[in-house]
């Protein structure tokens, strides 16, 4: 396998275009299907009424917000270790999408919290750590924007991304470590989900749609970065 063949921006550029197109179409189809299942097919929740339907956007967005940070830190670490140009570009291409999903997770969470908890915002461990995640994304982008030399921007951002990755397990386990208002996970890989099958289908479809969207958005952005720098 020629792992490093596509590590060169020149060879990666056309491939990224193809993958971005495929993922963009997949994202649109999956999102339509997910929204259809989520808003029209899934039954009304016994306790939360119709307000619960926001989880179809909230939960996948929160997953992606954390996952994208880990992916970003992975590319950053790869860039520092192997000194490949593309890794840094990938890290900076992922950051705005991650920040977007973090913001969506916080915003939809606030809209859901108002009817359910009676407050838009509570200083609960998970909400606070998700807010810090947003600040980390913004700090990463601000640092890269402040440095003119792209190579230095990539490497400085990489160090920051790796330092900030400490926050991810804190968000993920915050519900278990502290007594929080935010509920625990309803879906896990190891046990049966505690929700109706159609609800789960809707959520999985939306999660896949967000995956596809993230890949497409990041690749479109990385293509722009490649064009800009070369």
């Amino acid at each position: 396998m020629k792992w490093f063949w596509y590590a060169s921006p020149e060879t990666f550029y056309p491939l990224a275009g193809k993958i971005a197109r495929g993922c963009g179409i997949a994202a649109a189809v999956l999102m339509l299907a997910g929204l259809y299942v989520g808003f029209l097919v899934a039954p009304t929740d016994a306790q939360q009424g119709e307000a619960y339907r926001i989880i179809f956007i909230h939960v996948p967005a929160a997953w992606m917000s954390m996952f994208l940070y880990v992916v970003m830190a992975f590319w950053a670490a790869l860039g520092l270790a192997f000194n490949t140009r593309l890794s840094g570009m990938m890290a900076s291409a992922l950051a705005p999408t991650g920040a977007l999903f973090t913001f969506i997770a916080l915003w939809t969470g606030a809209l859901w919290g108002r009817p359910t908890w009676g407050a838009y915002w509570v200083w609960d461990a998970r909400l606070t750590s998700e807010l810090i995640l947003l600040f980390l994304y913004l700090g990463f982008m601000a640092l890269q924007a402040a440095i003119d030399d792209p190579r230095r921007a990539d490497r400085a951002g990489a160090v920051l991304a790796i330092v900030g990755v400490v926050n991810i397990p804190i968000i993920y386990y915050s519900v278990q470590w502290w007594n929080t208002l935010h509920q625990g996970a309803s879906v896990s890989l190891t046990r049966a989900p505690s929700m109706a099958a159609t609800m789960l289908t809707g959520m999985v479809l939306m999660a896949l749609a967000f995956w596809a969207y993230s890949i497409a958005a990041a690749l479109v952005r990385v293509r722009c970065i490649i064009l800009e720098r070369q």
Partner: protein, 222 residues
């Protein structure tokens, strides 16, 4: 190796003593910020007692951040930093020594003066020890994490504001544990758990931060 570390600490302390007003400014800032809150929120003793740990900790955070910009800037400007980077002494040890010197100059005075501020806030005398101990364990972590940010933003335009944007989110866990320990102790539950977590953070930061600082300095001064 230890000789190099001792030399750096001695040199930085000497430089700080030569420019005593810089040290005093950060300390004065700490006292003034902490004194503003009773004027802003009203001098109701019960309210002051309940917000005291948080206010003192936030003031300590801001004050320690204020002096971070100077950590590497003057060395960068006069070329000392390049000599350090080229020198034989391991960079990790040198930056750890610089962070230690920064703490001795900016963190240590906060620990010593915090009980006086606690007096202003009418905090019960039994809590002075917990407050001072939490600051003693927490402020070195602030210096270590802050040094990463200072190294990353070295020589950038708008470095000061950017530095706070990078560093403040990373300070949050220290703030939560530090202020939490005093609040728990005030509630009669003892703050040992939070203090132990602070100590754990200090150990982790002391072990890993010098690497990150060294890497960031190498990137910044290429």
């Amino acid at each position: 190796m230890l000789a190099a570390a001792r030399c750096i600490v001695y040199r930085d302390l000497l430089l700080a003593m030569r420019r005593r007003s810089d040290v005093a400014t950060a300390l004065l800032f700490f006292v003034i910020v902490a004194s503003l809150f009773p004027l802003g929120v009203g001098a109701e003793p019960n309210l002051l007692r309940s917000i005291a740990p948080g206010v003192i900790w936030v003031a300590a955070l801001l004050s320690s951040m204020l002096s971070l910009g100077r950590l590497f800037a003057s060395d960068h400007a006069d070329g000392t930093l390049e000599q350090i980077l080229l020198g034989a002494a391991p960079l990790g040890v040198v930056v750890a020594a610089k962070a230690l010197a920064h703490w001795l100059v900016s963190g240590m005075p906060l620990v010593l003066i915090a009980p006086v501020l606690a007096l202003q806030y009418d905090l019960p005398g039994s809590l002075y020890g917990v407050l001072a101990l939490s600051l003693l364990l927490g402020t070195p972590v602030l210096s270590l994490i802050g040094a990463i940010g200072a190294a990353l933003t070295l020589g950038l335009r708008g470095g000061g504001v950017l530095l706070s944007l990078l560093v403040l989110p990373l300070y949050v866990p220290v703030l939560i544990m530090g202020a939490g320990s005093v609040e728990l102790a005030a509630a009669g539950q003892g703050g040992q758990g939070q203090l132990l977590l602070l100590a754990a953070m200090l150990v982790v930061a002391a072990a890993f931060a010098p690497w990150a600082i060294a890497a960031a300095l190498r990137i910044s001064s290429e």
